[in-house]
Subunit: 242 residues, 2 copies
Amino acid sequence: MVYKLFYWPSIQGRGEFIRLAMEEADVKYTDVARKPASKGGGVKSILNLINDKETAYPVYAPPILIIGKKIISQTPNILMFLGARHKLAPKNEDGRMWVHQLQLVISDFLVEVHDAHHPLAKSLYYAEQKKEARRRSFDFTSSRLPKFLNYMELVIKRNPSGPYNLVGARISYADLSLFQIIEGLRYAFPSAMQKIESDYPRTISLSARISKRPRIRRYLESPNRIPFNEHGIFRYYKELDN
Amino acid sequence: MVYKLFYWPSIQGRGEFIRLAMEEADVKYTDVARKPASKGGGVKSILNLINDKETAYPVYAPPILIIGKKIISQTPNILMFLGARHKLAPKNEDGRMWVHQLQLVISDFLVEVHDAHHPLAKSLYYAEQKKEARRRSFDFTSSRLPKFLNYMELVIKRNPSGPYNLVGARISYADLSLFQIIEGLRYAFPSAMQKIESDYPRTISLSARISKRPRIRRYLESPNRIPFNEHGIFRYYKELDN
């Protein structure tokens, strides 16, 4: 069966966490909204799902994954599903819950990354909240970012299977997500990251190893990897990069 | 076995979602941080866990639930665990994932509730971001709040088992969480809620039914229910209640 992913076609956004998991799992998927509208793609394909007047299981927001009759949404939920099916999470309950817990920390952090450039409202442009974004991003780079990276570094360091992955001896969807976070932070806050990366050697090393995994590298070098840009969650605004 | 919950002792916060699930399940639990420090309680009991220098499974933030050797954190993760064990979620995989998906929507929304009064930084006082909070809360009450309530109302309406619960014919942890959200919104935004509640009759009715369930009512009337206050997630500031 071929997975169908529905996500905004012009940004990496939350969809990228799902793409990375599917790429590493080497499963077949269609990135539906990136196909032309004439072939059932485009933003309309997402809105059709969200506004579906029949479904008993309405979705709140993309990413949305469809496989057979299953319609799954909310990024950590989709990743938990894929992780169990494609060996991107431990099999036992404690291990599954631990990976999920880490993914939820990553998910919460992602909101903070977004709100660093949009502290007042999603519905306003960046230019309309630039001054406030400066204040929020100062708190982000000086306080929230180190708190998050300290935690991830500690989790890798304490991993009983060795200080290489977040969980156990195998790669998990949380490792892939952490890689994506590091890449995004480097794009959005290059100066801030350059100053502090050396404080988190295990996190940076894990991220580098993930970028070199054959399936991930193939994907990153392909046109399927949308470049970071100023419409996504990770945005580069020089004045926010403290 | 007795559950041990660790959460900031002076607010409902995220801990309340866990408390409501445990109260409805009628399980025994100790609310550790609410005991005096001399008896191993207080905020110190939480900090000791977070700063534990030995554990292979560090926690990022409370709430934290301990049962036997399991240490579980992140609210939706704890609820998923409790839901499976105490019949507060469907048994089949699709049902479990659907409840969890709704809980993740609720969790994301809770961050928006918090940030309505703290748009710039958790580390600053409300008074230091009052002007910005007015702008953010205007967007919250006019746009984000109706979007969330519309969605919850739709989910209840479409429930194939009848328009009474979010999922299936039995109460789930997501129903309990939705009740808590409604109670919190009524406390924090009484005027805004009064204006729009009648647009969401199924949501309001579900919430009323939950408040009357014997175990929930017993809990709400007990001193164990911490009153809402201006240190928690839901805060009443007249100037933000549009």
